[in-house]
């Protein structure tokens, strides 16, 4: 699965994207975040205020309880500030 990061989430993690193999038992986006936070302090820092970080599955906004399913690409990013 491809993970992509934007803005200060990208800067805190220190990379724009990565390919990961998820362990069994991860069902929701919140599960994925919990797993990522255990991978190193850079992830812990990026998700320190977990409720602030937004997620998208295959280019569609989702909530933390969204199912990972057969997602190809999951993105994490701060609240948007375009316009």
């Amino acid at each position: 699965m491809k993970l992509v990061y934007f803005a200060w989430v990208r800067e805190r993690i220190g990379k724009a994207e990565e390919e990961v193999s998820l362990p069994d038992g991860l069902v929701t986006v919140a599960d994925l975040v919990a797993w990522l936070k255990g991978r190193g302090e850079e992830y812990d820092y990026a998700f320190e205020n977990e409720s602030v970080v937004r997620a998208a599955i295959d280019h569609v906004h989702v909530k933390p309880d969204a199912l990972l399913g057969h997602a190809r690409e999951i993105a994490f990013f701060p609240p948007m500030t375009g316009g």
Binding site: H59, A75, P78, P79, G83
Partner: protein, 162 residues
């Protein structure tokens, strides 16, 4: 009619985009134009840098545009959003909404901007005149509230045409 949606680094020409939208048309009675510009924040800012999520930016703007077209009787819709480094005075975003009457065009443009600000995957970072990259712009609660007001259904089934 699907909206014209573009995500690009280059500046855009408001007059040319308006002409493109209305060329050869005799049915349009109103075009509302919104242009968002980069401001210098009282001389503090050297530029804004806009990061975006390629692919999702176009998809999300198109989804919001489709909602606007479902909600108001539009005869044309153009949304252009820039990314990259943008200097004060330069345009960032353009919304053109065309309809028979002004009300639908005003409301659709207003709706689009409120939703673009909170839903389209763009992030602004400040570059300061003093030198160096400044901080990421914080999302504003007032923008969330502005988008929230559209969750209420419009006043009438015709979208409040006048």
């Amino acid at each position: 009619m699907p909206a014209l949606v573009r995500v690009q680094a280059e500046p855009f020409d408001v007059a040319a985009e308006t002409a493109l939208l209305t060329r050869g048309r005799a049915d349009i009675g109103a075009v509302v134009t919104f242009t968002g510009l980069c401001r210098d924040e009282g001389g503090r800012l050297d530029a804004l840098e806009l990061e975006h999520y390629p692919g999702m930016a176009e998809a999300e703007i198109s989804r919001v545009a489709a909602q606007a077209e479902e909600r108001w009787p539009l005869l044309g819709l153009t949304v252009i959003h820039r990314f990259g480094r943008i200097a004060p005075g330069e345009p960032i975003v353009l919304v053109l909404a065309a309809s028979i009457h002004r009300r639908a065009a005003f409301e659709a443009a207003d709706f689009l901007m409120d939703y673009l600000k909170t839903q389209a995957p763009f992030w602004k970072r400040e570059h300061l005149r003093q030198g160096g990259a400044g901080s990421w712009v914080q999302a504003k609660a007032e923008d969330d509230r502005a988008a929230q007001r559209w969750a209420e259904p419009p006043s009438g089934p015709d979208g409040g045409q006048i």
